[in-house]
């Protein structure tokens, strides 16, 4: 698992960005975790770049302090950073959530305030409700964007619980 994560992260961090051409194929789908009756797949929906993400010890009983690893090279300054989460199942929306990650004064996270070209590697817990995921397939759209609404990262994730 660790080895896989490392390969994934290195690949995504080192791989040069796209040329921004129009007819480019979609980014490949990556596996973030497959364990304990849960499978999480994701695909970058930012035409400019792919990124690396993995989850440690995922299971159907989602722990409230889930650890993730996330790596990306910034193409925007992130003085302010926001996260939008949209959860859908079978085409109907279940949850829409918007969360400020970085604010200008006294940032919570060490990567806040980083500038274009810098590398972010986040390994740590993410807050969540810690619920049991009912059986089924869920789609999650995750988007990180700056105060000027420029996309920093975007992912279409699929969560399959069996």
């Amino acid at each position: 698992m660790e080895g896989f994560t490392a390969v994934l992260l290195i690949w995504t961090l080192i791989a040069p960005g796209s040329s921004g051409g129009s007819g480019r194929e979609a980014w490949p789908t990556h596996l973030a975790c497959r364990e304990g009756g849960l499978e999480v797949l994701y695909q970058s929906c930012d035409p400019l770049q792919d990124f690396g993400l993995s989850m440690d010890q995922c299971s159907k009983q989602l722990k409230s302090n889930l650890n993730i690893r996330f790596g990306i090279i910034l193409r925007e300054d992130i003085k302010e950073l926001f996260l939008d989460i949209a959860l859908t199942a079978k085409g109907s929306s279940i949850l829409n959530y918007s969360y400020p990650i970085c604010e200008e004064d006294q940032p919570k996270f060490s990567f806040c305030g980083r500038r274009k070209g810098e590398q972010i590697y986040y390994a740590g817990p993410v807050n969540n409700l810690g619920v049991d995921i009912p059986k089924g397939e869920y789609q999650v759209l995750l988007e990180l964007y700056t105060e000027s609404r420029a996309t920093v990262a975007c992912a279409n994730a699929t969560i399959i619980s069996f």
Partner: protein
Amino acid sequence: MMFPSHLAGTLIPAMAFLSCLRPESWEPCMEVVPNITYQCMDLNLYKIPDNLPSSTKNLDLSFNHLRHLGSHSFSNFPELQVLDLSRCEIQVIEDDAYQSLNHLSTLILTGNPIQSLALGAFSGLPSLQKLVAVETNLISLENFPIGHLKSLKELNVAHNFIHSFKLPGYFSNLPKLEHLDLSKNNIQNIYHKDLHILHQNSSLNLSVDLSMNPIVFIQPGSFKGIRLHELTLRSSFDSMNIMKTCIQGLAGLEVHRLVLGEFRNERNMNDFDKSALEGLCNLVIEEFSLANLEESLKDAELFHCLTNVSAISLVSLGLYHLKGFHNKYGWRSLELVNCEFEQFPTLELFSLERFILTENKDGLTFAEVTLPSLEYLDLSKNGLSFKGCCSYDDFSTNRLTHLDLSFNGVIIMSSNFLGLEGLQHLDFRHSNLKQASDFSVFLSLKNLRYLDISYTHTRVVFHGIFAGLVSLEILKMAGNSFQDNVLPDVFKEMNNLTFLDLSACQLEQVTQEVFNSLSSLRLLNMSHNNLLTLDILPYKSLQSLHVLDCSFNRIVASKNQELQYFPSSLTFLNLTQNDFACVCEHQSFLQWVKDQRQLLVEAEQMLCASPLDMRGIPVLSFRNATCQMSKTIIGVSVVTLLVVSVVLVLVYKFYFHLMLLAGCKKHSRGESTYDAFVIYSSQDEDWVRNELVKNLEEGVPPFRLCLHYRDFIPGVAIASNIIQEGFHKSRKVIVVVSNHFLQSRWCIFEYEIAQTWQFLSSRAGIIFIVLQKVEKSLLRQQVELYCLLKRNTYLEWEDSVLGRHIFWRRLRKALLDGKPWSPEGTEGAE
């Protein structure tokens, strides 16, 4: 991170494969500001583009493959001010690479794996103020060849491999240096000699960021006598003990602002307690900031070395054990962000001028505070409930100028700011205001300049709600509502108002005189309401209006005659997202839209909502020709209708005449059954039977007369009989004129048909017999007959024998005219 070495084997082919996939391209750079700013990010460039103008001032070459910067690389761009070379895979920078860039003020080298940096790499650059060399494999500052950059203000060498905090001697050549970012490096020990240059040179006013360095030791006395503007040490210590000794090592430092704490994702300490900050007693600090410590802080003892600090900022600390702050601190500013207070802290700080408490847990209830010097109060984003807002008693200050209670819970307005007359800025947005429209809440706020009550569930019923706000310049009240959804005259006396936001207020109508006193208003936002027409008269008096936003309404059109009253100062009018009706009825409004295209914001985004076939089509593409076309169609159809109806009326009126005409064609001449059809009044029937029939039918030669009482076929309409039996089958018509004749409608009808008949058969066929002296007055009513009798010869029935003899002779002669010679007649005559 530790990477297993065998992975390199898989990575290298992968990289090679990827680079094959990306052929070199020469896409042109994006022109952001012509001749000034060019964006060449991520264009697969292998060399510096040479097709850009030499006047370029801002050049972004990030995310390309430049790899090697030779000398005079940028000689084509002598005007450059900002140069971004982030992630350009630059490994080598030769001598004089940036030579001749005399105006360059910002150079960004982030993310380049620099292996060889020539000693003269940065030569030239006399104006450079900001150098960013984050993630550039830098090992020490000592060898960094920047000693000649006299105008440098900011040096960012974060996220490198620098081991030592030794500030090189060349810093004494950088008199303007203000910011030194050394965060995320490998500095472990700080010795007295490292700061030698600062001891010597006290004129520097440096801000140093040492966050995320694994600092374990600071030699006591290193900072003694040194003055820094700012020192940041977040997530720099691995444990409480290291932090404690290191802070003691800072003794003697004079710093304007000291920032301690951790980051949420870079937490190291888990045993923080109040003793950690004991060493701060030996420092001179103006402002102190502590952020993101996981441990809960039990008491205010923590701050006993900070009593003389001017400003304290505490962010994301577990202060839930803390009950409040009492008057032993000389703080002037206190900021508490996300500190998890379980109840509203008791505050009794006589010198405090500025107090901020935000992002606390929901559900606090405001408790009175004693802050007699308070000027600035921000209690936003706390879910706070406020039982009686607001007056002097709540804060014990009459100096308050700024009050922010936005994003809170229920705030009951019970007092109209008595004792708080100095307020200039008041913000209640997204809190739930109660009783705000019950009385003149803001009556005493004569100095208020800014008021925000957006989304406060306020329903304006009382028209005096804003009474007293004579100095107000900005009023934001989006997302509220008004009684009956009509905007009433609530803005009296607001002569200084420049900005008014009334969006999302469910407004359907605006009263005419509502904006009459707002002569200074420059921006008016009426968007997201339910206005149905663009009613211009209310805006007529807004002499200074610059921007009017009426987007997201249901405006169908505007009244034509009003369009001329638009304030002439208007420069932006937003009418997008409305329900425009692109029909000819509003043709002049649609034409006005086209004419005012410069005034309208995103005019091409204004779309038709009706009629159905025009839905989604831009208003600008509505063609007037469509209307002209339909006008012609309407005109033609009206004329046609008119003609048809005239024809129908004529047919109706002359139906019998037409019947006659049809009959005339059918019955050719000579087939006449009768010699004459007699038109007479039934009152004169005696004369007809006894005189006319007797003399003509029984005389020689005998004539056949058509008489209605004898020859008309029963069961057929009288009119048809008159025409078909009477006129069609007779050669002549005898009209027996008398007073009775003139009075009978049937007779007059028959006479009129006879006239037509005579005209159609084009022969003199009517013989008039005047039976008795006719009354002139009656005759005059029949003007035609009167004229005819005047002009034509007629027979007159006379009483004398001679007269009668002549009468019959003349009548016979007239009847004989055109009578065919028939054998029957000859026989009868013999």
